[in-house]
Amino acid sequence: MAPAPSSTSSAITLNINGEKHHLPIDHRTTLLDALRERLDLTGTKKGCDQGQCGACTVLVDQRRVVSCLSLAVAAEGREITTIEGVAEGDELHPVQQAFLDLDGYQCGYCTPGQICSAIAVIEEHAAGWPSAVTDDPGPDAGPPPLTPEEIRERMSGNLCRCGAYVSIVQAVARAAEERSAEERPAGEDAAEGHAAGKHTAEEAAA
């Protein structure tokens, strides 16, 4: 892409969910509007258009961002993953499955953003990132346990006005447990992790 300095639009290529999309774009178009209005990827939601609700969360180069404050033209050359791209074919992503099983939503409008955010939260935590509620943010402390309090703080950039936070936190916890159970060598630990995940699910559905 090499627009003339005076041009207010560009022909760009966006790499979304592993697929390349070529499109001319008005520079004013946000990544969110490009997805929704130009590419028919309407799973990414517009709740505030100001970075104040998190409904438009997508992953760019594996990191969660708000697409409403990202310009489409500036997203060229990056790897964009939206809610439409997190499942493996017909098999839901474990975070999606946990939201479905544990009723981690109500109206569903914040849900794609919550799920994209949760996928990143689990990765950030696995990478050892502390949060604002981590007692010791020091580099030697190791990753804090992913307690409900940690999940809540890390997910706070995603508002849910229906008030489904309680079940969202349960869903994120289950998906995180499943992920760490997978990473542990097969044996008792893994079995416990799995059982704990199931237990959470049963509690929530009781």
Binding site: D26, D103, C162, G163, Y165
Partner: protein
């Protein structure tokens, strides 16, 4: 057809079991399409322009420069818009809010009033042109301040009488052993559903089609047809997935302006409100000022109860936030007086918002009860149990079940209430003072006439069609379970189609009446269909369809006090040095009739309680003292509870069965918020010893109440 009302025995199997949402997979994969997401060829985009003055007259709309901008198709305003019919009473018994009947004259009754719609080929072009549109005004002085002794206040009936009175209040207060006389205020609160209002209108084969996000497709269809003087059958409104409503999503400026533009341009036009625009166009919960006076005998029995509430409304529309109504259900007293008053100000029109009346009203009355308990040295739960009414305190009608006491007993047991030391301000954990509080809840369990179509398909499956709305309640799933039981089949054999006005008249998703009303219609149609099937040997290819109408059956229902009840419990931590409050846990135990789907019902009740936390601690839409317009109307300026504000919230229910009730379902959408803010506020008192009678209980208010910490005393080592 004659509507039969099957007894509860006809329901079996699916109802009462936890089921994940039918549309759940679509919602978690992003495949569920909401109103602004359905593609249309040749779609144009409308952007509303709102007034920047608070009161006055439009002098000029300078359309010419904007019409010359790239992509701009038209600018609609009071000078060129078609005239609308507005002198009618709609399906819910109310006239339309003139805020929705856009561009009818040059008056500006409040800041943020719709003055024009700019339509362009792309959203970017529409936005830039709308921002460039110059509108000049003749500005007039305004009054936007609500205060309890406003001279313009007058008694107003909404969906209940304005005032009720029995006994000699002053005499009973004088005779009381202990008395509470306190004023409470709640601020302007915004629905803030995650999906802003959105609609696409188009003419298709001589029919007006509107794809919208609303709480009642039939309701909006009726309003649009009347307003545009169209034959009802020539208007169709669809609303499949709705990103939250909470009372805000009825007829609004976006649908009406989209219809105007689609008619003028003869192409599809989409209008989506910006988050900021929802603050003045989407309705809101009025601020209230309330005064409660209670007097009790030495044993805690109420001798006197007075609850007066004042709310604001716009100069163009009367809306009553009937906060004093909750006392007409929960508590009796020898002298009992309630009053709902309103005052017309130069502000946007308020509307229903989750538990209208009960939410702010329960804050005042339940906080006052807590104060009375403190004065009388009576346990707050015991005080409420001693004042349980035998019959409706105002109506004198019998209750169709009042299980408040059962809720309190079960809640107290689970919350550990018996171990509570009633003295305030004595439990500390680090920098936090801890306290617990409780409150009662009630919400009406009504039903409204609805129709449903149930079809037995040739392949043995069933299709249910009803103009219901699933705004996140799980209605689609609940109706599937209800229909399956009524048809004595498996839920997998039932397809439920909703959100289409072509399916016939039905109650909206509101007033906690949706599921009850729709379930009634579905079970009635299913019962008749089963009778028909019993007499049929084969089903024709088009299936066999039965239509129900519950009007008659509803009319036959005995007049009673029908309500859900609940007991709310909260534990909070307060840092009086910084003013921070954290809710540590909440428990709600409800008597809410038959629970159709425990998974979604629990979620909805928890959601209501989450609103209670948000109402108690965070929410306030701020109006500038000088201009009368909103200050920072966005989700950074208007705080709703985040994940981090919401602790583990437990919900359960007690058996709540009324054998005379043919449906047995009450509603769970609103009872969850009722009393929740009071429980939090009462817990803040228990933690700190300070009563906060003005919501939200923000850090500045906590600090103002407690003052500077003594040197070095901020932290217990």
């Amino acid at each position: 057809m004659t509507t039969t009302t099957p007894g509860p025995s006809a329901l079996r199997g699916a109802v009462g079991t936890a089921r994940t949402r039918i549309e759940g997979r679509e919602k978690v994969t992003g495949a569920a399409r909401y109103a602004g997401e359905i593609p249309f060829a040749d779609l144009a985009h409308g952007w509303l322009v709102l007034s920047t003055v608070t009161r006055g007259r439009i002098l000029d709309v300078e359309t010419a420069p904007v019409l010359a901008m790239p992509g701009v198709l038209t600018v609609l305003h009071h000078g060129n818009a078609p005239r609308l019919k507005t002198d009618y009473v709609g399906m819910l018994g109310t006239p339309p809010d003139p805020t929705c009947a856009v561009f009818q004259n040059d008056r500006v009754p409040f800041a943020g009033w719709p003055v024009a719609l700019v339509v362009a080929e792309t959203p970017e072009e529409a936005r830039e042109a709308a921002e460039a549109l110059v509108v000049t005004y003749d500005s007039e002085p305004h009054d936007t301040a609500l205060h309890p002794d406003h001279p313009g206040a007058y008694p107003a009936a909404g969906h209940m009488p304005a005032e009720t009175e029995k006994g000699d209040l002053e005499a009973q207060l004088a005779a009381s052993a202990f008395v509470v006389d306190a004023e409470y205020t709640t601020p302007e609160e915004q629905h803030s559903m995650m999906e802003p209002h959105a609609a696409t209108a188009r003419w298709e084969g001589g029919r007006l089609e509107v794809v919208d996000s609303n709480q009642g497709a039939g309701w909006v269809q009726g309003e649009l047809a009347t307003m545009f003087s169209l034959d009802a059958s020539s208007v169709r409104v669809r609303s499949e997935h709705i990103g939250g409503g909470f009372g805000s999503k009825g007829l609004r400026a976006h649908q009406v302006s989209a219809v105007m533009a689609a008619t003028a341009l003869q192409r599809p036009v989409r209008v989506v409100l910006t988050r900021r625009q929802t603050f003045s166009l989407g309705g809101y919960r009025s601020p209230t000022t309330q005064r409660v006076r209670l007097g009790a005998a030495p044993d805690g029995r109420l001798l006197a109860l007075e609850h007066r509430s004042l709310n604001q409304t716009s100069t163009v529309y009367e809306f009553v936030e009937p906060s004093a109504g909750v006392a007409r259900v929960l508590y009796d007293a020898d002298a009992h007086r309630t009053a709902n008053h309103v005052v017309r100000l130069d502000v946007p029109s308020p509307t229903w918002m989750r538990a209208p009346g009960e939410a702010p009203g329960s804050f005042a009355i339940e906080a006052a009860l807590d104060e009375l308990a403190e004065r009388g040295g009576i346990d707050p739960i015991e005080l409420r149990l001693r004042n349980e009414p035998e019959v409706g305190p105002v109506s004198g009608l019998p209750f169709a079940g009042n299980n408040l006491a059962a809720c309190f007993r079960e809640g107290a047991r689970r919350f550990g209430w018996a171990d509570r030391d009633p003295r305030p301000g004595i439990r500390r954990e680090g920098r936090w003072l801890l306290g617990t509080g409780t409150a009662a809840a009630s919400f009406g369990a009504g039903a409204a006439p609805s129709t449903a179509l149930v079809t037995a398909e040739a392949d043995g499956s069933f299709t249910v069609r009803i103009t219901a709305a699933d705004i996140g309640t799980g209605a689609r799933t609940a109706l599937t379970l209800i229909a399956a039981d009524a048809l004595e089949t498996a839920p997998e054999q039932v397809r439920v189609r909703i959100g289409d006005s072509d399916f016939g008249p039905a109650m909206i998703a509101g007033g906690s009446m949706g599921t009850r009303s729709w379930a009634w219609a579905v079970t009635a149609a299913a019962a008749e269909l089963r009778e028909r099937l019993a007499m049929t040997t084969s089903i024709p290819p088009e299936g066999i369809t039965v239509r129900s109408d519950t009007t008659e059956a509803l009319g036959a229902l005995a007049r009673k006090e029908r309500h859900s009840f609940g007991a709310q419990f909260a534990e909070v931590a307060v840092d009086t040095a910084t003013g921070e409050i954290r809710v540590r846990r909440m428990l709600g135990v409800f008597a809410a009739g038959r629970i159709v789907n425990p998974l979604t019902a629990r979620n909805q009740l928890v959601g209501g309680m989450t609103w209670g936390i948000s109402m108690a601690l965070h929410e306030e839409a701020v109006r500038d003292r000088n201009t009368g317009g909103h200050y920072a109307p966005d989700l950074a300026g208007y705080h709703v509870a985040t994940h981090a504000d919401t602790p583990a919230i437990e919900v359960d229910w007690v058996d709540d069965h009324d054998p005379e009730d043919p449906v047995g379902i009450k509603g769970v959408g609103e009872i969850g918020i009722v009393g929740a803010a009071a429980a939090v506020a009462n817990a803040v008192w228990h933690a700190t010893g300070v009563r906060h009678r003005d919501l939200p209980i923000r850090p500045d208010r906590v600090l103002a109440a407690t003052g500077p910490e003594p040197a070095g005393g901020a932290v217990d080592a």
